[in-house]
């Protein structure tokens, strides 16, 4: 009797507290789990929202991993499983050490990876950029910017994540045979101010011809530091991603080019393919389990048009 009352109480309380998810439980729920908080994922969210509009019978959400740690991501996954999620698309922070956790998730729900892959896990498919290809693309831009060779330094949040490693790998491979050398890669642990200070210190130290921003916030911090130092045009910049400041830098010529991914497609395709999979359609999965969404090079001639489309997308949130 006592237990019954307890159970009823617990039930009532949880219903009151989690009333909304309880209703959504009738719909199948899908989640996009990010690796960090960034505008990049705001754009992806726009893609998720588009998919949501097309599939109102699913409940879609974006979960932002604010601390950018594998531990936080693991907790988010456990919480999602506990709430009975049907499908997850995740950007893996620490893929090497998350295999077990991801396999656990994959045994209960449809698991995709996006943006950052975990190839050793039982994820069904990876939707995203081939970061190595993006690195190769960047290397091409670097060669164009430094036809006679030179020295570059790269800036990144952490080198833990595979997307960072693969981009660097692509750049190194693409620069083989050229006179361009990578002097150093500086990390900032996600602290924007530290990211900018790293660039300033590099400029003060001198001897560089080109700076590479590997993460989406690194490039704007490079832009800001280079401008503050009055070195626009004196030092080349090649970046990744499409932060507003990055695009501004491309427009005013401080940044030669930036390699952009298509996060809108990550979000949109993650959700629509999850829907397909849950509805029993597996035909979209290629043999290698990789759906590559190509990266684009944004430079002075196409930056205006790209800025417009970004503005539209971000305004829609």
């Amino acid at each position: 009797m006592h237990r019954l009352i307890q159970a009823t109480l617990v039930g009532a309380v949880s219903l009151a507290l989690f009333g909304a998810p309880a209703v959504a439980q009738q719909k199948k729920s899908l989640a996009l789990v990010t690796n960090v908080s960034a505008d990049f994922w705001t754009v992806a969210r726009a893609g998720v929202m588009k998919a949501q509009g097309e599939h109102p019978d699913f409940a879609m959400q974006v979960i932002v991993t604010g601390q950018a740690t594998a531990a936080e991501q693991r907790r988010e996954l456990d919480d999602l499983l506990a709430s009975g999620v049907a499908g997850i698309s995740i950007s893996a922070i620490d893929p090497k050490n998350s295999t077990e956790e991801f396999n656990k998730v994959a045994s209960h729900a449809a698991l995709f990876t996006t943006d950052s892959d975990a190839p050793n896990s039982n994820r069904l498919v990876y939707i995203g950029t081939d970061n190595k290809a993006a690195g190769l693309q960047a290397a091409g831009e670097i060669r164009k910017a430094l036809p006679n060779g030179g020295k570059l330094m790269a800036f990144v949040g952490t080198m833990d994540a595979d997307n960072a490693r693969e981009r660097v790998e692509g750049i190194r491979e693409g620069l083989k045979g050229s006179n361009v050398t990578i002097v150093d890669i500086r990390t900032d642990g996600g602290d924007f101010a530290k990211a900018k200070a790293n660039v300033q210190d590099a400029l003060a130290k001198g001897g560089l011809d080109l700076l590479v921003g590997l993460y989406n916030y690194n490039t704007p911090q490079i832009y800001s530091a280079v401008k503050d130092a009055g070195m626009s045009g004196k030092i080349k910049v090649v970046g990744f991603d499409e932060d507003a400041q990055t695009l501004r830098g491309v427009a005013d010529g401080t940044i030669q080019s930036t390699i952009v991914q298509q996060p809108f497609q990550f979000g949109y395709q993650s959700m629509t393919d999850l829907v397909k999979y849950i509805n029993g359609d597996k035909s979209f999965i290629p043999a290698n389990h990789l759906i590559i969404i190509p990266t684009r090079v944004i430079q002075k001639d196409n930056v205006h048009e790209f800025q417009q489309s970004m503005r539209r997308m971000l305004a829609a949130k």
Partner: protein
């Protein structure tokens, strides 16, 4: 300047000197001014946290205050079209209010400062992330704030504005702490709150004042930090900065037991921390060693201060009875009147 401050200055000069020998570019104007800028950014709020530490408290919340006030600030300017003077006022007032609330909880509800500000750290960070649904806030595609950005993070005569602001804040706070009645009360409370109360000091009001200063300076620092990075990621903006502030204050001679510290010490402590971060980059030490270098130097700095103290205390204790014997207390004669 106290002996401790000179010691810290010496440490700063030694570290700077060694770095300069290894790479002379450390002393280039560009590098020094870049560092001055960062010292300004970090020094402003470190002084505020130092005030709280002097009362015997601690403020763990400033890093999260930056995130919360930072996203609010950008939102007010970019999305809500609030005139900039009002937006700045709102942010500083926000810091003052948050600091005041923490002060009230510490004094009136008698909660421990560590607990109150730890909860602040969690709450403000969460509020900031919720406020923006975890999105990074930036000035985006608008150019309207370039000159405000210049005001908050630009340079005049080559001197970064945050550094100028730090000098102003340091002078004002230095006078407040070392010359004013309020400052005297802060030290008295930090050393013996009961005795201060028994001397008629409104101890609660003074302690709240310290938290208000910390919050207010955090508000001021928010504006400079926002224009330094131009965008605010609510989950990472200002992460760990409270620890930089505490480290700077401790290096600068503040005791976590309260009642000790100086503004000049805190500024020098901040400078040392920034020099350490800079030398990691200038000397090409792997970024991953950044924190390890910082921790080691703080530890050495604090240790260097220790043996003197440790040696002084026992000798003082054992000497006292001896002294008393050799020179009997002159007050031990009988009273003259009877």
């Amino acid at each position: 300047m106290a002996r401790k401050d000179w010691g810290l200055l010496l440490l700063l000069l030694v570290v700077g000197g060694v770095t300069a020998i290894l790479n002379p570019r450390f002393l280039s104007a560009v590098n020094l001014l870049d560092m001055a800028n960062l010292i300004g950014l970090f020094g402003i709020f470190s002084i505020g946290v130092g005030m709280v530490i002097i009362t015997g408290g601690i403020d763990l919340s400033v890093g999260s205050i930056f995130a919360l006030l930072g996203v609010v600030f950008i939102d007010l300017l970019v999305n809500r079209g609030v005139p900039w003077p009002l937006a700045i006022l709102a942010v500083v007032a926000g810091g003052v209010v948050l600091g005041g609330l923490q002060g009230l909880l510490v004094t009136k509800a008698k909660l421990q400062p560590f607990v109150v500000t730890l909860c602040g750290l969690l709450i403000y960070r969460g509020a900031a992330r919720y406020y923006t649904t975890d999105a990074t806030m930036g000035f985006g595609y608008s150019d309207d704030f370039d000159w405000l950005g210049w005001l908050a993070s630009g340079r005049s005569w080559g001197i970064p504005h945050p550094f100028i602001l730090l000098i102003i804040v340091a002078v004002v706070m230095g006078v407040l702490l070392h010359r004013s009645v309020f400052g005297r009360y802060l030290f008295a409370i930090g050393r013996n709150e009961e005795a201060a109360r028994f001397s008629g000091i409104r101890t609660d009001a003074v302690v709240i004042g310290a938290y208000v200063i910390s919050g207010g300076l955090a508000g001021v620092a928010t504006i400079c930090l926002v224009f330094y990075t131009n965008s605010v990621s609510p989950s990472s903006f200002g992460n760990f900065y409270e620890l930089y502030a505490i480290a700077a204050a401790v290096l600068g001679g503040c005791s976590l037991r309260g009642g000790e510290g100086s503004v000049i010490g805190i500024v020098l402590g901040t400078a040392l921390l920034q020099v350490l971060q800079n030398l990691v980059n200038i000397l090409g030490i792997p970024s991953s060693l950044n924190f390890a270098v910082m921790g080691t130097v703080i530890l050495l700095g604090v240790l260097a201060d220790q043996p003197i103290v440790r040696r002084a205390i026992p000798s003082f204790r054992t000497l006292r009875p001896g002294r008393g014997t050799a020179k009997p207390v002159p007050g031990s004669v009988a009273p003259d009147r009877s």
